[in-house]
Symmetry: C2
Subunit: 332 residues, 2 copies
Amino acid sequence: MEDVAARAGVSRALVSIVYRDVPGASEATRAKVLRAAAELDYRPDHRARLLGRQRTRLLGVVYGVHHAFHGDLVEALYAAAEPAGYDVALSAVAPSRDEQRAVQSLLDYRCEALILLGSEQRPARLAALAERMPVVSVARKVRAGGVDVVRTDDAGGIRQAVEHLAGLGHRRIVHVDGGRAPGAAERRTGYRQAMKSAGLDPHVVPGGLTEEDGAAAAGEALRLRATAVAVFNDRSAIGFLDQVRRRGRAVPDDLSVIGYDDSSLARLSHVGLTTVGQNAKTLAELAVGRALDRLDGADLPPGELVVPPFLVVRGTTAQVSGRRWGSEMTGF
Amino acid sequence: MEDVAARAGVSRALVSIVYRDVPGASEATRAKVLRAAAELDYRPDHRARLLGRQRTRLLGVVYGVHHAFHGDLVEALYAAAEPAGYDVALSAVAPSRDEQRAVQSLLDYRCEALILLGSEQRPARLAALAERMPVVSVARKVRAGGVDVVRTDDAGGIRQAVEHLAGLGHRRIVHVDGGRAPGAAERRTGYRQAMKSAGLDPHVVPGGLTEEDGAAAAGEALRLRATAVAVFNDRSAIGFLDQVRRRGRAVPDDLSVIGYDDSSLARLSHVGLTTVGQNAKTLAELAVGRALDRLDGADLPPGELVVPPFLVVRGTTAQVSGRRWGSEMTGF
DNA sequence: ATGAAAGCGCTAACAT
DNA sequence: ATGTTAGCGCTTTCAT
């Protein structure tokens, strides 16, 4: 910095002013400084900036290395933080690196707020953290004092799925649920409500979150003579699909299937699973926005920001054939 | 720190000594300091440490948010860096955040070395970077001056696949290749060599890296009356599998199939794909080791460290049936 | 608009 | 073993 100042013929303070992009330097000086810096290919030392300024303008993000969707979120968080003049510090949690560790390393960097993706920490700990700084939990509903939550409307997602299927003429729409998995209760409830609203009889088959669970549910769903099935998530839907086909049923001709997550699995071309997707961009923007609002001293009550998911129609859903089940179109 | 020192009744220097874990403090003092720190729940400011010490002991890691295997590597890198007293700074590359940007932000933190996962940067740029600091490219062979490479032995992986199949009695082993994808050439060559060594006739069917590519290759492979197929990667193998089954062939009864990558796809229980896996732990340890060696001034010629992959036997490979093709067991 | 100078919270060389 | 002191490379207040 000294060198740049010298080369530009000004003091270090001016260089700082130019780099922080604050008023206090003439256009001429600005240009001089920038040119000098370019010639020396100078880049401000990020450590020193962080240390020197009062506010670090650092957003700590904790995410899981193995969650595909977290990748989308991380990308979106970078994009959301930058225009606000904030920087993102990443800390990964993995089987050999627990969440607490990940959080601690972020605290040591003195980041101003914490954004936790799919946090599994105990509410008490989260509440303690939230006492020190803004904490927002993304994609995970937590009931901890002071913690903001930004998540997708799970019930609404299933509702869209049901409405899509009903719109295709299906009436025997079964839900293979997620058991006790996080989000499963919401989706189950959403399904029941959507079915009622459509004047249809709901029917839930116990499932889970793995392919096995989906495969295991296929028999029961077929027995119920379902023409369409909304499965808890994509993984389970894949297992379900596989099993259904092995039993000689064609998808979507005989049976429509819809997953949940819009994971990479669903996108596989030979799978082409119709599914429900989450809007990473919106989630990220809301999370960052929330954190910054708090940093700006907004005295909002901590709350939930719920983002509507959207339907991704691919190849596993189609108009009900209507022939297979004859005249029994009135319910189960 | 001042507070801790005061509470412990010593000077700040002692606190620093204790926290750096260097000789120069009596056991008694050490205990006093630690206790005082605990009471105040003091944690050293990471920014200040970085700034103050000569060597930042920071390893910059650039990875792709959407590469599942990078997740494994990141986890292993954390584990490898810690015992050496180094810290990891993560920087993600994503569609909206290019590699150069990711690298730059790491440089601004003044990390001492760069570990790039699956780098796609131009050799010239890498070479320029390598002039400033140790740079190691993991999982990507690059020919750039001064850049170390740590990668998996692709040819060896395919060789293991072929040997596994040959060991099961297969003789008509076909390779569905990866076209011009990175690593495809090595695997193709490895396949040809392995087949020759086993006294078998190699036969390569053009493929690619997507499910479509695999599916498209199924017809040709069947036409060649293959009893076993080694596919370029898991994605392609999945498409291949699907297509083969649609044509009424049973896997592994009629045909053994082996993928490459040990991706989450291969692990799906209903897929159970036999595949070739890479050793993230070893790759990470070698990468960190290399970087540290260079930092310690070792004057090694930049070179490639090649790690042997390993076979993951699941359910898509089995003993050749021997009946289907009658007596024509001698080749194509 | 520009510059001087005092931190930020540590590390590390040096003195005691 | 312990304390003193001068940085590290910036930011930021206050003069000029």
